[in-house]
């Protein structure tokens, strides 16, 4: 299934929800729509589904113009944030409903298909219950099973896990990844969480304020964001951004800190491009460490707060170069206001020009 949007835009009254965009969805793969609330994810998804018509532009499915065609005439499965099921139907009948509508399965085949899906989503014991008798996670599993039962070539999921506990989210996300991996459907998955996009893999489109800023393989978009806006949207905790000035063979930051930047095939020399111009240095929280290695630059400051997640500690630091967040593995304690030195390998920085476009991305020794 090839879905393409050509010059599609969406305006509601005087407000622009989506600026004109061209977008060709990667077929038989997962595409993550990543962006903050109000970025345009749901608007884009509704246009893809045919729930809304675009204000301008064309929507094509396998080359055919389907712009004005309603969702009922298209073969699309959708899952929403809220757990939407038929409240008066048993779980079995909820899952079976799209199969019954299709009408090409006999009773035994239908029964088999429903049970298969229920097993996959771990809701087999609840087939005879009503949705209201299930927990939130189980209700969303029913909605997912029903969407999968449809076997639609296009499946759209709008933040399907957002209303669940984080552990349940983790579990269900893994199961969904495994289900999507078959490549039977073209899947679009909207989320506000960068980590969720990385865990789902596939392709990611970064949205911000009604624009698709970048679209490509998820890891590539993460590691080579074309602009500050993409880097900011695709980082959690948010990427540290520091104002700098290009100086001889490096970048001068506030607080007398100087970063040497080596030119390479991957990182063109700064000099020619931006003489004397201001640049922005991007440092991912995970690039900052508390133990030095040779060649590191030291950044001093005071601890504002250490946020502990268990697997990671996020240290907020008021540093001489500006505010920083460092991501450390495991549990670390810091007194509020304590002096701290963070260490940074200068080869791990991003550099953006005055317009916010990427000039230099870090080398990735582990990349394949």
């Amino acid at each position: 299934m090839r879905l393409t949007l050509e010059g599609v835009a969406k305006r509601v009254g005087a407000a622009t929800h989506l600026y004109p965009l061209d977008f060709a969805l990667q077929p038989h793969a997962v595409t993550v729509l990543l962006g903050a609330t109000q970025a345009g994810k749901t608007t884009l998804m509704r246009l893809m589904a045919g729930l809304d018509a675009p204000s301008q532009g064309r929507v094509r499915v396998d080359g055919e113009d389907v712009t004005g065609r309603s969702v009922r005439e298209r073969n699309v499965a959708m899952v929403y944030q809220q757990f939407i099921n038929y409240p008066s139907m048993r779980v079995f009948d909820n899952i079976a409903s799209p199969l019954k509508l299709r009408g090409d399965l006999d009773r035994a085949a239908l029964d088999r298909r429903v049970r298969e899906l229920a097993v996959k989503l771990h809701i087999e014991p609840f087939l005879d219950r009503l949705p209201a008798e299930l927990s939130g996670g189980q209700q969303q599993r029913v909605a997912l099973a029903r969407a999968l039962a449809k076997q639609a070539p296009l499946m759209l999921l709008d933040e399907p896990l957002v209303n669940l506990d984080y552990k349940l989210r983790e579990e269900l996300r893994e199961e969904l990844s495994a289900l999507f991996a078959s490549g039977d459907s073209t899947v679009v998955y909207a989320t506000t969480e960068p980590t969720e996009a990385l865990l789902l893999g596939g392709y990611t489109a970064v949205l911000d304020a009604g624009e698709v800023l970048q679209y490509g393989p998820t890891a590539e978009v993460f590691h080579r964001p074309h602009s500050i806006r993409v880097a900011r949207a695709f980082s959690d905790p948010p990427i540290n951004l520091l104002k700098g000035r290009v100086a001889e063979s490096g970048i001068q930051l506030a607080g007398e800190v100087r970063l040497a930047v080596r030119a390479s095939a991957d990182a063109p020399a700064l000099e020619g491009d931006t003489p004397e111009a201001g640049v922005t240095v991007g440092v991912r929280a995970s690039a900052l460490r508390v133990r030095p290695r040779s060649g590191d630059v030291a950044l001093t400051g005071r601890v504002e707060l250490a946020e502990i997640s268990g697997s990671d500690t996020f240290v907020h630091v008021a540093a001489a170069v500006g505010p920083l967040v460092a991501q450390l593995t495991g549990v670390h304690y810091f007194e509020l206001g304590a002096a701290i030195t963070l260490y940074l390998d200068p080869s791990q920085i991003y550099v953006f020009d005055a317009r916010g476009d990427l000039l230099v991305a870090p080398q990735r020794p582990g990349a394949r």
Partner: protein
């Protein structure tokens, strides 16, 4: 302020018979005066029931609640002198910020000059000083919730301040600043704070002691480091950390450890503890699983089933015997390919062992003491 002691159980049913009939299974717990606590667990674990029992909104079906040694089980929240902050802001829209903050004090007849001083101090801590004379109605949700927090914290004489998921309405980007405020306030005011949440960051960041709950049971009370490094119950290993702890079925045989078809050598101290258990579960966090050389000590062979680039690390999934193991690998390392055979180190100072009741029975020794072979 008060030291709070609980020795109770609670069921919403008239005649509870089995464990699942209880919202709270029998527990004994004490909260030190001036401490910061969090009750953490998935929905339905009993944390809100426990909070409501402490506040006096729910009376336990069995046992007692003691404040400073006095039985307060039958007393209301007012009589217990409890302040509460809820998920959604509770403010008087027509009042100014200052009047909202002063309300709990005026209600109790605190002298005006004392009210002024206290309101000023709380407003300063929460960075509301500039808005004291503004009406609450025009403020954004996070400012309103700050007022709610301030009202909870404004009284000096409360036994405890209880929070029920108070940062739900706060924008994710602002959360850390409010967490910081709460921590600072706790440092300065030394109030007893008890905080209910299902969010691990919320709990581990805020509290000195975290009570981890599941299915009506408090399975561990500890610091963030204790919960991460030495989960006393398998649920804690699973619930804290992303992804949670890996678990492998294992058993003791002649001083050796049998796991997924491998025989690994155990340190004598561990061997002693594990002999009695016979069969048990080995737990190791993804952060502590290492890529090892072929047949390295303490390592098992596994087949890579998935490699995810999570940006800040590689998340490796590999099948060892019947079990899927996860490892968080350094982003600078060369990640293995799907289908490849790898050796994964699972024995180390951070490895934990659990009995049939999922309780911790032993934990790994220092690495130097480890003598292992595959």
């Amino acid at each position: 302020m008060a030291r709070i002691e609980l020795d109770l159980a609670h069921s919403y049913l008239p005649d509870p018979k089995q464990d699942s009939d209880y919202a709270l299974l029998p527990l004994q717990m004490s909260f030190t005066d001036g401490g910061a606590y969090a009750l953490l667990g998935p929905s339905g674990c009993g944390k809100t029931t426990l909070l409501n029992i402490i506040s006096g909104l729910v009376r336990p079906s069995r046992g007692a609640v003691l404040f400073n040694g006095v039985d307060v089980t039958a007393r209301s929240p007012q009589e217990r002198n409890i302040a509460q902050v809820f998920q959604f802001p509770v403010v008087y829209d027509t009042m100014t910020v200052a009047d909202n903050l002063a309300f709990p004090l005026r209600n109790r007849g605190v002298p005006p000059e004392r009210i002024k001083a206290r309101v000023g101090r709380i407003a300063e801590m929460l960075e509301l000083s500039g808005q004291l004379n503004q009406r609450a109605a025009g403020l954004a949700a996070d400012a309103k919730q700050k007022i709610s927090l301030g009202r909870g914290l404004v009284r000096e004489d409360v036994s405890a301040v209880l929070f029920d998921e108070p940062l739900t309405v706060i924008d994710p980007h602002l959360k850390w600043q409010l967490r910081r405020k709460l921590k600072q306030i706790h440092h300065e005011l030394k109030l007893t704070l008890i905080y209910v949440t299902h969010d691990q960051i919320e709990a581990l960041t805020f509290a000195e002691q975290v009570v981890v709950m599941t299915r009506g049971r408090a399975v561990q009370i500890g610091t963030a480091a204790e919960l991460f490094e030495r989960p006393r119950h398998m649920f804690v290993g699973h619930f804290i950390g992303s992804p949670g702890m890996n678990f492998l079925p294992a058993r003791w045989r002649d001083g050796m450890l049998e796991v997924t078809g491998h025989t690994l050598r155990l340190a004598p101290a561990l061997s002693e503890a594990l002999r009695a258990a016979g069969e048990f579960t080995l737990g190791v966090r993804p952060e502590y699983v290492t890529l090892a050389d072929e047949r390295a000590e303490g390592a098992l062979v596994a087949e890579v089933t998935q490699v995810q680039d999570v940006g800040t690390y590689w998340l490796l999934t590999a099948r060892a015997g019947e079990t899927l193991l996860r490892a968080r690998l350094n982003p600078a390392s060369i990640a293995p390919q799907v289908g490849e055979q790898v050796w994964l180190g699972v024995l180390g100072p951070h490895t934990c062992f659990y009995d049939r009741d999922q309780q911790l029975i032993a934990a790994g020794p220092e690495p130097q003491a480890l003598r292992v072979s595959a």
